[in-house]
């Protein structure tokens, strides 16, 4: 397992690439979900005003 994490001495580069990519994608998914939730709420409350 530690051998796997070491990546033959290139662990910093390989995991740095994979970890930042995973964080960015997770962040985008969370941001898009929040945006949809807020848009839905605003659209529904807009209907109540009419």
């Amino acid at each position: 397992m530690s051998e796997f994490l070491a990546m033959g001495g290139y662990g910093f580069y390989v995991w740095g690439a994979y970890a930042v990519t995973a964080l960015l994608l997770a962040g985008e998914v969370a941001a898009v979900r929040t945006r949809l939730k807020n848009a839905r709420r605003a659209a529904q409350s807009g209907e109540d005003e009419r």
Binding site: M7, A17, T21, V32, L36, R40, A42, A43
Partner: protein
């Protein structure tokens, strides 16, 4: 034979439920492919004879770089349709694609830097491939900033579409940069006209990851376009029902 009336889906209200279903399907497919691709790339594929394990960055770098260019092309195509037909759903699709395109561009640059250091001894060089990819990131940012700066969405559609279409000239520059100039960056990894230069398992892992990235982009973009439809069509009568049904 039944035929599908595709023009029906040019209207946001009929497109919305379709986008909901498609986003879910492509999201699951992307997750499944990513698991297989990561397993192939990090576990199954052998260590490279020259580069050691540093080459494993290829499994995200190349798919991200492909997507960065492909999404720009798709975005520009939707911009062209929105200008030519004055179709607002097309403009919304372009608007929804931009952040994901910028994200993949940033990932391509970041993973490229982390690969460049062990492979070439430097994180960054102002060579043609890297510089034109950085310009691509600025084109995405410029497109989003211009949209943001114009309050009227229909005017923002037109102005940003023109910007996106002008920026298309950068795509062939990125793609052919490794041929036209002497670049630190290596030539194309995969070519349709010649035999693959890499081991089959590495190529398969990379292609699986490319499909995962593609399906991810489709799922996220369709989810974002749903939000954009709700935001922009707020005053339309049907939007309240749609919001309620949009689980």
């Amino acid at each position: 034979m039944t035929s599908i009336n595709w023009a029906r889906y040019a209207s946001p209200v009929s497109f919305f439920p379709l986008a909901t279903r498609l986003a879910r399907g492509f999201g699951f497919a992307a997750a499944a492919l990513a698991i297989v691709g990561l397993w192939l790339g990090l576990v199954v594929a052998p260590t490279d004879a020259q580069q050691g394990d540093a080459y494993r960055i290829i499994f995200i770098h190349v798919p991200a770089a492909w997507m960065s260019m492909f999404l720009y092309a798709v975005m520009a195509a939707w911009c062209a349709v929105s200008l030519a037909l004055n179709a607002r759903l097309s403009a919304m699709m372009a608007q929804a694609l931009a952040p994901t395109g910028a994200l993949f561009t940033a990932i391509a640059l970041w993973t490229g830097a982390l690969w460049g250091r062990p492979a070439w001894g430097t994180y960054w060089a102002w060579d043609a491939r890297m510089t034109s990819e950085l310009i691509l990131l600025f084109l995405y940012f410029g497109y989003m900033a211009l949209r943001h700066a114009i309050d009227d969405p229909r005017r923002a559609d037109r102005a940003s579409a023109v910007l996106a279409l002008v920026g298309v000239v950068n795509l062939p520059i990125i793609y052919f940069s490794v041929k036209w100039w002497n670049t630190l960056h290596q030539g194309a990894s995969v070519s349709l006209t010649s035999a693959p230069k890499m081991a089959a398992i590495m190529l398969i892992g990379m292609l699986v990851m490319a499909f995962a990235a593609w399906f991810y982009a489709i799922a996220v973009t369709l989810t974002r376009v749903r939000a954009i439809i709700l935001e922009r069509e707020r005053r339309a009568g049907w939007i309240g029902d749609l919001a309620g049904a949009a689980r």
